[in-house]
Amino acid sequence: MDAAIKFKDLQWRYEHRTNFALKGINLEIIKNDFIGVVGANEHGKTTLVSAICGLIPHSYNGIYKGSVEVFGKKVFDSDALELATNVGFVFSDPEAQFTAMTVEEELAFGLENMGFEHAKIKERIDWAAETTLIQDLLDKSPYDISGGQKQRVAIACVLAMNPPIIIMDEPTSMIDPLGKNLIFDILRRLKKAGEHTLIVVEHNVEQLAPLADKMLLMYEGLVDRYLPTREFYSDSNYLQDRGVLAPESTEFVQWLISEKALPASINLPLDLAGGIETTRQALKRR
């Protein structure tokens, strides 16, 4: 399988810090996989994804050792345009990424940088707006809409550029529950389309886990665990020790297993529906 991203012993220390934020990352992310990134705060999640989109080392000062390759080209040697063409980045604070005066302009900005013509820009804007349900916001100021709408606009900006890799850094951290559902609906659609490598840093594992092909745990600047999602959550105690919770349905079924109410061989559920179904089948068997 083709690797979209390859980390080779990447180490990174921010300027004026004594410790390395990344302490030797070796990682391969397969094209079109959906990766969920979890971990406690200050353990290197954002730094890891910043190293993929090139903010590290191009926008921050520090010590950079090892390499990251995106589709075979080193991030260190790529410029902003090359990187933006391959990697889209959605920041946790949507307002922090707005630079234009209307939503439409905001969406057009990246496409103009990529050198598209008017007709193509229009087509891409319409598609991204439709995918993220922001068609009626195009004429508005991006500062004059709700938090959830802002985040959808931020996602639309990245989608419009249609990069093969899309990174979202805690995209739901600043929005209400309904807004969160909409963001995960968009992620679900993107996953279904299967045309993008998606890397999502997120604390909301209840909604992230059912979507992710693989989960990655960052701990003390290292990739502590990188496994297919079910396998990743097979040891909740281990994750808890590292400040990460498993989805509640997974924990519930694991508790039933520990109480010998269910066989250990059972497929761990990752969402509520899966949890109910697993429990129902187990009860039937009894």
Binding site: L55, A84, E104, N113, H118
Partner: protein, 305 residues
């Protein structure tokens, strides 16, 4: 194109005004039928023309033209109240300076007013300069009350300002709006913790405002860093180069087009501007000496011209 176009994307939102970073613009206005470049030229015209006119009555007339345009543009005149403190502060400042420090000139005519000696010439000159400033201020108010930031940028680009420069203008406007928003947030946070500025002495209020600068500047620095990261993430380079090497398309500008009325309006403004400028430069028609009020006062006070 219709004489009136609407800016609303969702007609169900029937609010009369739309918030911009610097204030409000009407949802519907006859100004929107004009290309942003025409509106920007109107702004330049109304801002620069008073510089040729030293007759205060003419600048007051220009002020009324601005007010008429504001009304025609469906701007809520009530919202102009927020500019009253500026109008009065400028007047107080200018007249205080000229009364306390009029300068020395043997040709000045002293007048006794309420036991204080003032000089006619500098006071009338200040009066003329004040109305010139106010006429220019209302030209600016008209522009920002009928144009969103987007239209300003399109106008600038249409007048061939480089993309990078227009972008810096846009970011500056954005920064100003966010600065005000952060300022409001900090004040509200203080009020929520029981701070009553009304009960404070003036000197303490000044100190408090100075203290606001520290968090405001640190927030501004953080935001500058965030915007820089956002520009990088979307492939923007200061050279304005595109990934294909072709010149950068200006999508938003392409959504506006010129009509006949734009050319007529621009031609009209250029003619008026050139005629005003030339008559002043060559014939000094708009000199302060030709002000009817000035002539009347000199005659009434017996001041030789």
């Amino acid at each position: 194109m219709n004489t009136e176009t609407t800016l609303t994307a969702s007609p169900e939102r029937a609010a009369k005004s739309r918030k911009t970073l610097l204030g409000y613009v009407p949802m519907v206005s006859p100004f929107y039928a004009f290309h942003p470049a025409t509106r920007l030229i109107l702004f330049i015209f109304l801002g620069v023309t008073p510089l040729f006119i030293f007759i205060p009555e003419m600048n007051i007339l220009l002020l009324f033209v601005n007010l008429a345009l504001l009304r025609w543009g469906k701007v809520d005149i009530q919202q102009l109240k927020i500019y009253m403190p500026i109008i009065f502060t400028v007047a107080i400042f200018m007249f205080t300076v000229v009364i306390l420090a009029p300068g020395k000139d043997p040709n000045y005519t002293p007048l006794e007013v309420l036991g204080k000696t003032i000089y006619y010439q500098p006071v009338f000159f200040t009066f003329a300069a004040y109305w010139r400033l106010i006429a220019m201020l209302f030209g600016t108010i008209l522009f920002f009350s009928t144009n969103r930031e987007r239209e300003l940028l399109v106008g600038l680009r249409a007048l061939r300002l480089p993309f990078v420069a227009s972008y810096v203008v846009g970011l500056s406007i954005r920064a100003a709006g966010m600065f005000m928003e952060d300022f409001r947030t900090i004040r509200e946070a203080e009020q929520a913790r029981g701070l009553d500025t009304k009960a404070m002495r003036f000197s303490d209020q000044v100190k408090l405002y100075m203290m606001y600068l520290i968090p405001l500047f640190s927030i501004a620095l953080r935001r500058a860093n965030e915007i820089s990261n956002a520009l990088f993430a979307r492939g923007y380079t200061l050279t304005g180069r595109t990934s294909t090497g072709k010149p950068r398309e200006d999508y938003i500008r392409s959504t506006y087009s010129y009509s006949k009325r734009d050319f007529v309006a621009i031609a009209f403004m250029i003619i008026i501007f050139v005629v005003t400028g030339l008559t002043q430069i060559f014939f000094n028609v708009f000199a302060i000496e030709h002000s009817p009020l000035n002539i009347f006062l000199r005659q009434a006070l017996g001041i030789p011209s």
